[in-house]
C-alpha cells in the first residue's frame, strides 16, 4: 500500500553537482578538534590530558546519563583541551589533536549477543547521523520489543546533499548488514529501506544486492521534501501518524539514518568507533563540489580549501542542507558526527524580502507537512498572542521551512516561529 505524507514541496535539488566526482576522497587533516558534545544530551568529560598521545578510535571523552563517548579520529598528540566554536553557534569544550599521520588505531571487541551489540553501539559513540544526533543505543533500547517496523532512512530529501546517496552507491552492503544487526535486536515484522526515487544509481545497486537479503524490503518513495523527516517518513512508509509530542515507538516504528546503520555495522563487526563520516561539500560557491570521507573534527575551513576554496561572492556557508541547515559565521568549526554537508551558497540565492507582506494566499497551509496554519502562527507571534499560538499547535512545527520556501510574500516564517516557540516556553514556565 502506498501512502503519502501531508503537504511538502519540490525544491530544485541540485544533487548532480556533488556527484560529478564519483569516488569519495579521503581527508587527512593536520589537526582535528573533537567537541565533547556531538549528540543530544549531556556533554562528555575529557579522558585525556594535554600532551597525551592518542590512537585513532581511542575513547577521549565520556559521561553519565544521556551521553555517548567521543573518540580520537586520527592518531597524534593532544595539543589543547579548551572551548572551541561549534556548529551550533556556541563555544563547546573540545580536545584538539595534532595528527602524526601514523594512522595507528585501536578497535573494540567483537559484539555478538544483544547486550554486546547495544554496548558496542554506545561505546562506538553512535548517534543519529541524519542531523538529530540522538544517542543510538538509547533509541535502540527504547525500541526493543516495542516496534513492528524498522526503517532505514535513505531519503536524503534536502537539496544538494548526496552523502547518504554516496554511501548507498559505494557501500550498500554495510547499510544492509547494519540493518540485519538491528533487525536481530528489535525483531520487527517489517525491515524497510526507504529511498527517494531520484537516487536511481543507488536503487540499482541495492536491487542487485537485495536477493541476498530477503528480510529487507526496499521502498522507493516519490521524491518530495521533507520526506526524510522522521514523522513524515513513518507516514509515507506505514500510513501511521506519530501523535503530538510522542516518539515513533508510540506507533511501533524505529527510524535510523542509513549512515547510522553503516556505523552500527562497523562497530559491531569490525569494532570500529564512529570517527569518520561522508560529508558532501557542495553549492554554487565552492570550486569543486564533491563527497569526502572526513575524520570527525576536521575544520570546515580545511575541507573547503581541499574542495578548491570559496567563490569571492560567497554569502553563506551552511552546516547541513539549504532547508534546515545552520548558517556558519566562523569556518574554524569542526565537522561533527551529524554533519552531512557543508553547503556554500552565493548571493541572491535566498532573496530575502525587505518588506515581507502576507497575501493570505494560504500556500503555507497546503505545504505544511504537520498541518499547521503558518500564516496565523506568524501573525499571532508578531502580536504576542501565546494563547492563540497554543491553539494553533505552534510547538508541532519542526521548522522544515516548506512554508517559508513557498511564501510569495517572502515572510521570515521559520525565524518568527522560533521566537514564538520561545514565547510559548516562557509562558509555560510561569
Amino acid at each position: 500500500m502506498k501512502h503519502l505524507f501531508f503537504g511538502g514541496i519540490h525544491p530544485k535539488y541540485n544533487k548532480e553537482m556533488s556527484k560529478r566526482t564519483p569516488e569519495i576522497r579521503r581527508i587527512e587533516p593536520d589537526t582535528v578538534v573533537i567537541p565533547m558534545l556531538q549528540h543530544i544530551g549531556a556533554p562528555c568529560t575529557p579522558l585525556v590530558k594535554v600532551g597525551d598521545r592518542v590512537l585513532k578510535g581511542q575513547k577521549i571523552g565520556d559521561g553519565e546519563g544521556l551521553c555517548v563517548p567521543v573518540h580520537a579520529s586520527v592518531s597524534g598528540v593532544v595539543k589543547a583541551i579548551e572551548p572551541r566554536p561549534h556548529v551550533r553557534g556556541t563555544l563547546i569544550n573540545a580536545v584538539v589533536i595534532a595528527n602524526d599521520f601514523k594512522n595507528e588505531s585501536v578497535t573494540m571487541p567483537h559484539a555478538d549477543n544483544d547486550d554486546e551489540i547495544l554496548h558496542a553501539i554506545r561505546e562506538a559513540g553512535i548517534v543519529g547521523m541524519g542531523g538529530a544526533a540522538f544517542p543510538g543505543n538509547v533509541k535502540a533500547l527504547g525500541a526493543m520489543g516495542n516496534v513492528d517496523t524498522l526503517i532505514a532512512n535513505g531519503c536524503e530529501c534536502e537539496p544538494y546533499i548526496t552523502a547518504d546517496d554516496t554511501l548507498l552507491r559505494t557501500n550498500p552492503t554495510e547499510v544492509l548488514e547494519g540493518m540485519l544487526i538491528l533487525r536481530r535486536l528489535l525483531d520487527p515484522k517489517r525491515t524497510v529501506l526507504a529511498v527517494e526515487d531520484n537516487k536511481t544509481e543507488a536503487i540499482a545497486e541495492l536491487k542487485k544486492l537485495l536477493p541476498r537479503y530477503p528480510d529487507i524490503e526496499l521502498v522507493v518513495l516519490p521524491t518530495r521534501y521533507p520526506q526524510g523527516s522522521e514523522k513524515q517518513l513513518i507516514q509515507a512508509v506505514t500510513g501511521r501518524q506519530v501523535p503530538p509530542g510522542q516518539l515513533p515507538v508510540k506507533v511501533g516504528c524505529a527510524v535510523f539514518n542509513v549512515s547510522t546503520f553503516a556505523a552500527i555495522c562497523r562497530a559491531a563487526t569490525e569494532g570500529k568507533a564512529l570517527t569518520e563520516r561522508i560529508v558532501t561539500v557542495s553549492g554554487e560557491a565552492i570550486a569543486e563540489p564533491q563527497n569526502f570521507m572526513v575524520p570527525i573534527g576536521t575544520s570546515f575551513h580545511d575541507l573547503i580549501e581541499i574542495a578548491g576554496g570559496l567563490h569571492d561572492k560567497t554569502e553563506r556557508v551552511i552546516s547541513g542542507g539549504p532547508m534546515m541547515g545552520v548558517a556558519q559565521g566562523d569556518l574554524s568549526v569542526p565537522v561533527v558526527k551529524a554533519t552531512n554537508s557543508i553547503l556554500c551558497l552565493l548571493k541572491d540565492v535566498n532573496g530575502a524580502a525587505e518588506n515581507p507582506v502576507c497575501l493570505r494566499c494560504g500556500k503555507c497551509v497546503t505545504v505544511c507537512p504537520m498541518r499547521l496554519q503558518p500564516l496565523y502562527m506568524y501573525r499571532f507571534t508578531n502580536s504576542g498572542r501565546v494563547d492563540e499560538l497554543n491553539r494553533m499547535n505552534l510547538m508541532d512545527c519542526m521548522e522544515c521551512g516548506s512554508c517559508a520556501f513557498t511564501c510569495p510574500g517572502k515572510l521570515p516564517l521559520v525565524e518568527t516561529f522560533r521566537k514564538g516557540k520561545q514565547m510559548v516556553r516562557e509562558a509555560q514556565k510561569k
Binding site: 501531508f6 514541496i9 525544491p11 530544485k12 553557534g89 514523522k231 506505514t238 501511521r240 501518524q241 506519530v242 501523535p243 503530538p244 510522542q246 506507533v251 511501533g252 570559496l310 560567497t314 554569502e315 553563506r316 556557508v317 551552511i318 539549504p322 532547508m323 534546515m324 541547515g325 548558517a327 556558519q328 559565521g329 569556518l331 553547503l343 551558497l345 540565492v349 535566498n350 530575502a352 507582506v357 502576507c358 497575501l359 493570505r360 494560504g362 503555507c364 497551509v365 497546503t366 507537512p369 504537520m370 498541518r371 499547521l372 496554519q373 500564516l375 496565523y376 499547535n393 521548522e399 521551512g401 517559508a404 520556501f405 511564501c407 510569495p408 510574500g409 521570515p412 521559520v414 525565524e415
Partner: protein, 313 residues
C-alpha cells in the same frame, strides 16, 4: 568575505507576488479580449483608465503617508482590471476612475494595504458606485449597438433569455466587459489552476452550489437550461474564478475555502431570487468576505497525529 548568518531556509521558491499578479492579469486577458471584440475600443479604454487610476491612487497614498511605494507588486493593476471587468463599457470614465480610487484608497490602503483588506476592493467599489450613481452601471448594449436588457433581466421575470446557451457560453450577449464569455473566463481559470495561483476549491464549490440550487429550485420547467443560463449569465463565472479567489478576502484553510465557496454560491442564488437587483454576485461575495476570519477559525485542520482509528493504530 563576510558570511551571512541568517535563519533557515536558505533557498526559496520562485512563487513571487508580482508573478502572481502578472498571472492574474494574463488570465483575465481572454475575457477582456472578448469584451473588446464585442463592445469595441471603449471597453479597452475603460479598462486602461481604471488600471491607471488604481496605480496612481496607490502611488499617491504612499506619497501622502510617506510609506513605501507598493505599486510595483502589481496588485493595484489587478484591482483596476478586475473593476473594469465588472462594468458595462458605457460606464462614464469619470465614474470608473472614481470607483478605482475608492477601491484602492478606502477598501485597500486604509485597511492596511495588500493582504490586510477585508473586502474585495473591486467589488466593494462596484457596490459603492451602484449606490452613488446606478445609471452609470446599468446601460447595457445589444448586438446592434442599442440599449438592451441582459439575460439576467429576462431571468428575473422569470423566463429563459433570448440568447442560446451556446451564445451565452461564448459571450454573444449584453453584459459587463469581462463577464460575458464563460469560455474565456474558464480558459483564464484553467491557466490560474495550472500555474497553481488558485486552487480549484473555491470556484468548484461556488459554481457547484449555484448549479445545484438553480437545478433544484429552477424557475422554469426546463431545470437544466435554467441551471446553465444561471451559470453563464451575469457575473457568476467572473466572480467564482477571479473575485472569490482573491487571497486577502478568502479563507486560507482548505476546508474553509470550500465552506466559503458554497456560501458565495448560495447567497448569489438567494440574492438573484429575492434581491432588489437581478444580479447578486457582488453582494454575495462581499458578505462572505466579512465572514472569512470567522470561517478560518471554525474550520480547523485536523492536527497531525490525532487521527482516530484508521491507519493510526
Amino acid at each position: 568575505m563576510k558570511l551571512t548568518v541568517a535563519s533557515s531556509p536558505h533557498i526559496r521558491g520562485n512563487f513571487r507576488t508580482n508573478r502572481i499578479m502578472a498571472d492574474v492579469m494574463l488570465a483575465l486577458t481572454p475575457a477582456l479580449a472578448v469584451g473588446v471584440v464585442r463592445f469595441g475600443m471603449d471597453a479597452l479604454i475603460l479598462t486602461l483608465v481604471t488600471m491607471a487610476t488604481a496605480v496612481a491612487a496607490e502611488w499617491l497614498y504612499s506619497k501622502l503617508t510617506k510609506t513605501r511605494n507598493t505599486t510595483v507588486d502589481g496588485s493595484a493593476l489587478v484591482t483596476g482590471m478586475l473593476l473594469a471587468m465588472t462594468l458595462p463599457h458605457t460606464c462614464p470614465l469619470w465614474l470608473a476612475a472614481l470607483g478605482s480610487v475608492f477601491a484602492i484608497l478606502f477598501v485597500k490602503c486604509l485597511c492596511g494595504g495588500l493582504g490586510q483588506n477585508i473586502f474585495n476592493p473591486a467589488l466593494a467599489a462596484r457596490a459603492a458606485m451602484m449606490v452613488l450613481y446606478p445609471v452609470g452601471l446599468t446601460r447595457y448594449m445589444g448586438v446592434d449597438g442599442v440599449t438592451a436588457a441582459t439575460p439576467l433581466h429576462h431571468m428575473v421575470m422569470p423566463a429563459l433569455p433570448e440568447e442560446s446557451v451556446l451564445d451565452m457560453f461564448l459571450g454573444n450577449c449584453p453584459g459587463s466587459i469581462g463577464e460575458i464569455s464563460a469560455l474565456a473566463l474558464l480558459v483564464g481559470g484553467a491557466y490560474l489552476l495550472w500555474r497553481k495561483v488558485i486552487s480549484v476549491r473555491i470556484p468548484a464549490a461556488y459554481l457547484g452550489s449555484v448549479a445545484v440550487l438553480t437545478l433544484v429550485f429552477a424557475k422554469t420547467d426546463a431545470p437544466i437550461d435554467w441551471m446553465l443560463y444561471s451559470l453563464f449569465s451575469g457575473g457568476v463565472m467572473l466572480g467564482a474564478i477571479f473575485m472569490a479567489t482573491d487571497y486577502a478576502t478568502s479563507p486560507a484553510t482548505p476546508m474553509g475555502q470550500i465552506v466559503y465557496g458554497i456560501g458565495c454560491g448560495a447567497l448569489t442564488v438567494f440574492f438573484r431570487y429575492f434581491g432588489l437587483f437581478p444580479e447578486g454576485v457582488t453582494y454575495a461575495i462581499l458578505l462572505m468576505n466579512a465572514l472569512v476570519w470567522f470561517i478560518d477559525r471554525l474550520t480547523p485542520i485536523r492536527r497531525f497525529g490525532t487521527v482516530k482509528g484508521g491507519d493510526n493504530q
